[in-house]
């Protein structure tokens, strides 16, 4: 409750306080009555940072909370404007808001920005600005809350989340190590055999240059092939998502099937593919989408590995869905319990003994970051069906 409405409650408190104090202040200023000092004390005693800014954006007054937030003394602030102490990137938003207030286009507004303290460090502040009515020259009351610690916590959470995503990716990749080792070993094996062949052709009584040359050519090709395999792995391990480009989903599906080939064979799973040709390409980060499909396929295989007596069938379909492209991964496994259906995409929710519960939640966020949808349903008569829907890419549509 508090978490959800915190900002709203804070804003209300601040605005009420601000308007109250401003009205009282102004009254005091205007009438220059003996009670002025009383309102001045109220202003100074507020735990919220407060400052008055004139038409030229110069600070007219700042309370103790405001000064200590920014580390400036009263007289030092008087020569400055908010723009002077904001970090470069945040100045424009502030200038615009002040401009609108000055023109009377609006009476109040707020902004979040970074201020540079006098002693160096940056302070994140949420600043509420309100024009004080009936004043000439116009004055604007700025009320500031230090949100630095919240911002830092958010940043940390974001980093942690992307780390988790990467860990989950690494885990899946770890499971695929055997397949990848095979992928690397093939070209490596060919390089060694060709190298030996080349040496032997040259070591003959009459060296066979042509055969040796052919062997060398094959070595070069195999080197490139190994490089491509490495490149593929690196893109899976990469910390930042790569760039999006148009890709054929069928190609990605086939790539994934090649990766899980060993697993499919070991688990005696029958793979059925129905891939529609001539699908529009999808604009995706190749490694990320491959990760999604790989995850769904691995889950499907896992779901079937404890089952005896029933055929283990993994179905992969690709098809049009309006302007979208739909990829369906279906298994004949144990299926998803009704009560779990809504929870499977939640982070840390898992039904696997060794699961982290990150796979599907990451998959969903990847698909959604590509403007698509990932959904699950029960299979008929058993098993589970996962559908990835991605917008088809029209060249030149951006």
């Amino acid at each position: 409750m508090w978490e959800q409405h915190r900002d709203l409650i804070l804003v209300t408190i601040i605005l009420v306080q601000a308007v109250l104090i401003a009205a009282l202040l102004l009254q005091a200023l205007r009438k220059r009555r003996a009670g002025e000092t009383c309102w001045r004390s109220a202003f100074d005693a507020s735990t919220l940072g407060m400052a008055l800014v004139d038409r030229e954006l110069k600070f007219v007054a700042a309370n103790a909370a405001f000064r200590s937030m920014l580390g400036y003394g009263d007289s030092e602030l008087r020569g400055l404007t908010p723009l002077d102490i904001l970090v470069e990137e945040d100045r424009e938003a502030s200038r615009r808001l002040h401009g609108e207030l000055a023109q009377g286009a609006r009476q109040c507004g707020d902004l979040v920005g970074r201020y540079r303290r006098k002693d160096g460090p940056e302070v994140w502040a949420h600043v509420y600005l309100s024009a004080i009515p009936g004043q000439d020259p116009r004055l604007v009351l700025a009320t500031a809350i230090d949100i630095t610690s919240r911002k830092l916590a958010e940043d940390a959470a974001r980093v942690a989340q992307s780390d988790l995503a990467r860990i989950a990716r690494l885990i899946t990749v770890g499971e695929m190590t055997a397949s990848i080792a095979h992928e690397i070993n093939q070209p490596l094996g060919a390089v060694v055999a060709n190298g030996n062949a080349g040496l032997r052709w040259l070591a003959r009584a009459t060296p066979d240059i042509e055969e040796a040359r052919a062997a060398l050519k094959r070595i070069v090709n195999e080197g490139h092939r190994a490089g491509q395999v490495i490149g593929g792995i690196r893109s899976m391990f990469k910390k930042d998502g790569g760039t999006k480009a148009p890709h054929d989903v069928n190609e990605l599906v086939r790539e994934v099937l090649a990766l899980v080939h060993g697993e499919v064979e070991k688990e005696r799973v029958t793979v059925r593919t129905e891939l529609v040709d001539e699908l529009p390409p999808v604009l995706v980060d190749r490694a990320q989408l491959r990760h999604v499909i790989l995850n769904l396929v691995s889950n499907a295989i896992d779901a079937m590995n404890s089952q005896n007596g029933r055929a283990r069938v993994l179905r992969l379909r690709s098809e049009h869905a309006g302007d979208n492209v739909m990829v369906t991964v279906e298994d004949s496994g144990s299926g998803i319990d009704r009560e779990n259906m809504n929870r499977i995409f939640e982070a840390f929710f898992t039904t696997k003994p060794q699961g982290m519960g990150m796979g599907l939640s990451i998959c969903r966020s990847i698909v959604e970051s590509h403007g698509g949808r990932l959904s699950a349903a029960c299979g008929h008569p058993h098993g589970a069906v996962f559908q990835v829907v991605l917008p088809g890419h029209q060249p030149g549509a951006e």
Binding site: A190, A193, A214
Partner: protein
């Protein structure tokens, strides 16, 4: 340098689904002076007509469709007795044990050391050559045995069981002279120079009776 004759008189088959591995092995074995034939799948290999000369098979354990081990069993069932050298990407111990138990000559891990491959191929070809020679010897002996008269065939069984001429005569209800003549014919027709040699032949044919 090489035993050219023996090597062109033999053939190495390579079955691997990976075209570049296939080509590399073909070149490597050819550079060793071997006659090589390559196949992309187990099915392709089974369809081809195999030359009736000493041969061996270099096979990837991870073949698509049937695994290398299943293929090994299939060959055994079809009575194709070609020695197999397995190639594997990573040393899978249970798989190795299974393959060796089923009669694989060698299990090589990729990347293959060429000397290991050469040794394994030589070993496999020697094995196949020896098997073929043994088979040939048996069929020669059998042909000679079949050229014997029924009486002589009876005699060979009795002689190699350790019976004396007199005992043979009594067993067959003929004179000792007649038994002796049969015995002489058997030795001559079978090309045996001694009783010991005749016993070996009888063993080979599985016709030796237990001593009475």
């Amino acid at each position: 340098m090489m035993k050219d004759d023996a090597q062109t008189q033999s053939i190495v088959y390579v079955v691997d689904d990976d075209a570049s591995i296939r080509e590399a092995l073909k070149s490597l074995l050819a550079s060793m002076g071997m006659r090589v034939e390559v196949f992309g799948s187990a099915a392709e290999f089974l369809k081809s007509t195999l030359a009736d000369i000493p041969s061996c098979l270099v096979l990837d354990v991870r073949l698509p469709g049937v695994s290398g081990l299943d293929f090994q069993a299939e060959l055994a069932k079809a009575n194709i007795q070609v020695p197999i050298i397995f190639i594997t990407g990573h040393g899978d111990i249970p798989m190795t044990v299974r393959a060796m138990k089923a009669g694989a000559v060698e299990f090589l891990t990729k990347p293959i050391r060429d000397q290991d491959l050469l040794d394994a191929v030589q070993l496999a070809l020697d094995k196949d050559r020896a098997r073929r020679e043994a088979e040939k010897a048996v069929s020669e002996v059998r042909a000679r045995y079949e050229s014997l008269t029924p009486r002589e065939q009876e005699v060979i069984a009795l002689v190699t069981a350790g019976l004396m001429n007199k005992q043979i005569a009594a067993e067959m209800d003929v004179s000792e002279i007649t038994a002796k003549v049969h015995r002489g014919n058997v030795m001559r027709k079978m090309g045996a120079r001694s009783l010991a040699e005749l016993v070996r032949m009888a063993d080979l044919l599985g016709i030796r009776r237990a001593a009475p």
